[in-house]
């Protein structure tokens, strides 16, 4: 891949969107607004939108670790999401293990799946890598659908809707919103930590020029495997949280190409390879698609996705560095470089 495969922000002046591990006032303000929204006690349908924005923001950040930082564009992340969701759900419904522990086991299994995918695709780049991730997720999806004794097959799995702290089932949506916000902030913090770390620099090097990185003493295979495993583990945690909120696993949704595409499109819209980009992407797209769906859904099936995908095409063609890139350009206008 060429050096400019990932359209990234220039590291010169980014008071609003700093990279390399620093945090700006803008980001802290966003966090405070998010906390205020959680405790504001808004209408239930809006809380739905809010907590989904948090959850998908975290998932987009998790995808971004592989896709944005290491240049491993994956269209198979729903496999990790599904593995995490199934693992914690099966452990809690069959074996009575609390999801608070099950989530970590799910993350571990998802990380193993990520490492396996990285090893399968060890030599692949560009579209070959992308298509292999798609095929990998299909293998996992068909496997999950047909191993009915474990996964419930096409009927899916349900979690008892009895609120309990140990079962990680809550009566109030605000509690879920707080949980999702915590997940988002945790993944954001990991991303920021990654940017400033030696490992993060390895990933940038591998992304920008794998051969040169190898020649400079970075082990590309190790870097790719670790990045994908970390990204998969965080995605798996998101899957478990999703299961705990919806209390039902639909095998045609939790491991599906559509979901994988969504994980990839949110960071692409927001700005790949930045910490704030996926968050902005999720906060723009998730409410938009949820609101469009609730307003238009009954009258015109699919219209919200038509509008949403049309917007995506425009963004990709005219703002290839995403929202973060566009905002960055805007805030720097008129200032000397």
């Amino acid at each position: 891949m060429s050096a400019e495969t990932i359209p990234s922000l220039s590291p010169r002046r980014m008071a609003w969107f700093p990279t390399r591990g620093r945090i700006s006032w803008f980001e802290i303000a966003l966090l405070l607004i998010a906390c205020a929204l959680v405790v504001s006690g808004m209408a239930s349908s809006l809380q739905d939108v809010l907590l989904l924005s948090f959850l998908f923001g975290g998932l987009a950040l998790a995808w971004n670790i592989a896709g944005g930082y290491a240049g491993l564009i994956s269209f198979g992340h729903s496999a990790f999401f599904g593995v995490g969701a199934y693992a914690s759900t099966i452990l809690s419904t069959r074996y009575g293990i609390t999801p608070w522990i099950g989530i970590w086991i799910g993350a571990l299994i998802a990380a193993m799946f990520g490492a396996v995918l990285a090893l399968i695709c060890a030599r692949l780049r560009g579209p070959f890598f992308i298509l292999s991730t798609l095929a990998f997720a299909e293998v996992v999806r068909i496997g999950a659908l047909n191993w009915s004794s474990l996964t419930g097959g096409a009927e899916g799995l349900s979690i008892m809707p009895a609120p309990s702290l140990i079962g990680m089932v809550f009566a109030s949506k605000a509690a879920y919103a707080a949980l999702m916000l915590f997940y988002l902030v945790a993944v954001f913090a990991i991303t920021k930590g990654l940017e400033a770390s030696r490992f993060g620099y390895y990933l940038f090097a591998i992304r920008d020029n794998e051969d040169a990185a190898g020649a400079a003493g970075v082990n590309p295979l190790l870097g790719r495997t670790a990045a994908l495993a970390l990204s998969a583990a965080l995605t798996g945690i998101g899957g478990s949280l999703f299961a705990q909120y919806f209390l039902y696993l639909d095998p045609t949704y939790v491991i599906s190409p559509e979901l994988s595409f969504q994980f990839a499109l949110l960071p692409a819209v927001g700005g790949l390879g930045t910490a704030i980009g996926p968050v902005l992407g999720s906060f723009l797209i998730t409410p938009l698609s949820e609101l469009l769906r609730s307003y238009l859904g009954s009258s015109a099936v699919g219209l919200h996705l038509v509008i949403y995908s049309f917007g995506l095409i425009v963004v990709m063609l005219y703002f290839p560095a995403g929202l973060a890139g566009a905002l960055d350009k805007l805030t720097r206008r008129g200032r000397p470089r």
């Binding site: 891949m1 560009g126 579209p127 070959f128 992308i130 299909e138 699919g302 996705l305 995908s309 049309f310």
Partner: protein
Amino acid sequence: MSTLIQLILSGILVGSVYALMSIGLTLIFGVLRIVNFAHGEFLMIAMYGAWAFTHLFGLNPYIAAVAIVPAMFLFGAVVYWLVINPALDKPHLVVVFATMALSIFLQNAALMAMTADLRDIPPIFNRSIVIGSIHLKVELLLGFAITLLCTFALQWMIRKTYLGKAIRATVQDGEAAMLMGIPVPRIFLITFAGGSALVGLAACVMVPLFSVFPSVGLNFVLIAFVIVVLGGMGSIEGALIGGICVGVVQSLSSYYVAPAFGQMFFFILFLLVMIFRPNGLLGQQGAATIGMNE
């Protein structure tokens, strides 16, 4: 024994139909070096077109091809100008995401226009050709013949005609071709539109065999990706061989293991090829490991 022969033969026939729908994808990849993620939706639209012709005018879908193929050529040209051309000079990821978004767009536009119902056409021949204990569907045999004809015609065109030579020159070295006076942007346009026209032809062959619904493209595009990678991206005869491999694997595994696992087997086959022979069976050396936009 006759079961095995039956399975292999019908696998080959179904596989050749799969190959026909993959040739457009491999052609576009070979020349433009992009993967069109909306390929399956092009197929879906063309299948709806062929279905509508049969449904409204009572025309045989093979005759409808006369209208569908030029229409898909035009459609491909429009998509090229609106989406592909503006994305070509941007980072490689832009094309990936733009065609991905295009696929979601087309799929949901079709959902709005046509609803999620399955659409079928009444059987055309309604009988099979019987040789001994082996039954072969006439529609499949016809598809096989059209695929072979199409592959040879395309090969001849690329080897012998002026346009074919210009395409090969563009593939070898775009800049040098441009300096020699070959209008490279127009070659790109013709290739993309031509690839879409081939999808139109494939759709006319597939409508008698498969139902049409808005997300039908996703199933087929995954098969097409497997075939194209198996045969080597950009290789036309590779697509034929890849298609036949996939058809036979699917037919054997769905009989001997379970229908549901048929798909899984060819995805596993795909991953095995990626591990051991990432350039496919007939692909260019090093294509998979250098990435595609050099």
